[in-house]
């Protein structure tokens, strides 16, 4: 599989000292982070949660957390890793809450379960394999959130094991085993449908 690394922007130099110039840099940095990462973060949240409105709420929360803790970023990891760490943790928290609330089991009507992808997404999504995407997203939503987040990052977003380890803070063995278990479950869920 060809993996394309996304650019590392902006840099790790987020300076936050002082109430005048420092605050201005912080605002500037945050502005650029939002503009550079909003689609990626929204996409991650959407894939984890499978719902447009929930992804919106989750992505907003992610950026609010980033804004609140930007001053604590000390360049000890790449900025993108730090941003994804926040995004991953918040998204998984949302997914766990959703799972506890039992929304997976409460599909309402069989034609449009609430945790399936919301097709208000971009037209390209609708045009391309609409049913197939719905099927995959539905299966993903049934996987444990911890495994789901890792599979999304590896198989859909193209991150490698090392990047995922850095983002999640998990041991490499844990990352690999969760991805492997999640894939096996995903294959079982999708068997005969694709």
């Amino acid at each position: 599989m060809t993996r394309v690394k996304r650019s590392e922007a902006p840099t790790s130099q987020i300076r936050t000292e002082g109430k005048t110039g420092g605050a201005r840099i912080n605002d500037t940095a945050f502005t650029e982070i939002v503009r550079d990462y909003k689609d990626r973060i929204f996409s991650l949240a959407y894939r984890v949660l499978g719902d447009h409105d929930e992804a919106d709420e989750c992505a907003q929360e992610i950026f609010i957390r980033i804004h609140g803790s930007l001053s604590t970023f000390r360049g000890e990891s790449a900025l993108s890793t730090w941003i994804y760490r926040v995004a991953y943790n918040v998204s998984i928290d949302f997914a766990r809450k959703k799972k506890r609330a039992g929304s997976h089991e409460d599909h309402g009507n069989g034609d449009c379960p609430p945790d399936l992808p919301d097709m208000r997404a971009n037209p390209e999504t609708i045009a391309l394999r609409n049913e197939e995407i719905r099927t995959i997203m539905d299966a993903l939503a049934k996987i444990d959130p911890d495994q789901r987040g890792l599979i999304i990052m590896f198989d859909i977003e193209g991150k490698d094991y090392e990047e995922i380890r850095a983002i999640t803070g998990l041991a490499m063995g844990t990352v690999k085993s969760r991805i492997a278990r999640g894939r096996m479950k995903l294959r079982e869920l999708l068997r005969g449908t694709l």
Binding site: T20, T28, E32, D56, A78
Partner: protein, 335 residues
């Protein structure tokens, strides 16, 4: 190898992380087991479909809602500072921080006769962006952009050593001139990094008054070492360090081959700065000597910069001064 083992190893096989012995065993089994061969094909197909899922885009109003919720002022275009940092994240932090250290080194080294003066005030190490609109508060390291020059010339040793690796890119990089602004209040102690509104107004007024007297330095091409030496010969900086020298310091500007101290109506060039660069570790080490009673405050401020490694333990003082090494580093986790 059994079919159950094949299912477990399929992902490792696709990833290419199986060792050669297992690969051989895996493929031998697949050649004689159509079910497992189909399973492998299915796993590959699923991987491809997963990888080709389209990305989602955030709603159009997403950005504005985030800014509204976080109280972030809307900035219409990318700032120069972060844009450049984005493109050249190695040089700017290193350069800015190194310039700070070099400036500190020059000011604090006893060889330049400043030890006595600096027993009372100390430089403040806060970083903020340069802007013509920004209030000129005391104690600032500001980064200024000058498109007319290349970055490769602007940071003396560091840049010279890094130049080999970046020669082709250097011509594209805007020049950054790091200016260390030092100022002191009436009592001779350093002004707070977060000055009161009154102090800021006073500083602004003082700056305006000074501007009428000071001929603003032209942004000349960085001095060569030879030129700087020649200037040194003409006006050695150690000769005329009066008691009120420090209180009159307006700024320090680093340039290749030396440091330029700007005083009201006067410019002094100083040659030589301590330090060396470790290319393997992407670090730059600089020696700093500072009065003992100012060590804790300075370390506290430098620690906040994030790109500096300061001593973990307080070095012992000798004759009232502490000598230590600062390490300017690239973000250690950056890739």
């Amino acid at each position: 190898m059994k079919c159950s083992s094949i299912k477990v190893l399929i992902d490792s096989y696709i990833d290419g992380s199986l060792d050669a012995r297992k690969v051989k065993s895996f493929e031998t089994h697949l050649a004689s087991c159509p079910d497992c061969a189909n399973e492998l094909e299915y796993a590959r197909r699923l991987r491809k479909k997963m990888a080709s899922l389209p990305s989602e885009k955030a709603p159009d109003d997403f950005e504005s809602r985030v800014f509204q919720k976080t109280g972030t002022p809307v900035i219409s275009k990318r700032s120069n500072v972060l844009s450049v940092l984005t493109r050249k994240r190695f040089f700017i932090p290193i350069g800015a921080a190194a310039a700070l250290i070099m400036g500190l080194t020059v000011f604090l080294l006893p060889e330049y006769g400043l030890r006595q003066k600096f027993s009372a005030p100390s430089p403040v190490a806060e970083i903020s962006p340069a802007s013509s609109e920004a209030p000129k508060i005391n104690g600032i390291v500001s980064t200024k952009k000058d498109e007319s020059r290349t970055h490769a010339k602007s940071f003396g040793r560091i840049t010279k050593e890094a130049k080999k690796d970046t020669r082709s890119r250097a011509q594209e990089v805007p020049h950054f001139e790091t200016e260390i602004r030092l100022a002191y209040n009436d009592s001779g102690s350093v002004t707070n990094a977060e000055p009161t509104a009154q102090a800021m107004e006073e500083n602004i007024a003082a700056d305006k008054a000074a501007e009428s007297e000071i001929k603003v330095m032209k942004k000349e091409a960085p001095m060569s070492a030879a030129k700087s030496k020649a200037r040194m010969a003409e006006s050695p900086p150690t000769r005329k360090i009066s008691d009120d020298f420090a209180s009159k310091i307006d700024s320090v500007i680093m340039s290749s081959g030396g440091t330029r101290i700007r005083l009201p109506g006067k410019t002094v060039d100083i040659m030589g700065t301590g330090g060396n660069k470790d290319r393997e570790r992407n670090t730059y080490n600089a020696k700093v000597i500072i009065p003992e009673n100012e060590y804790d405050g300075l370390i506290s401020r430098l620690s906040k910069l994030g790109t500096l490694d300061v001593p973990k333990t307080r070095p012992s003082a000798e004759r009232g001064y502490i000598e230590f090494t600062l390490t300017v580093r690239r973000g250690s986790g950056d890739k």
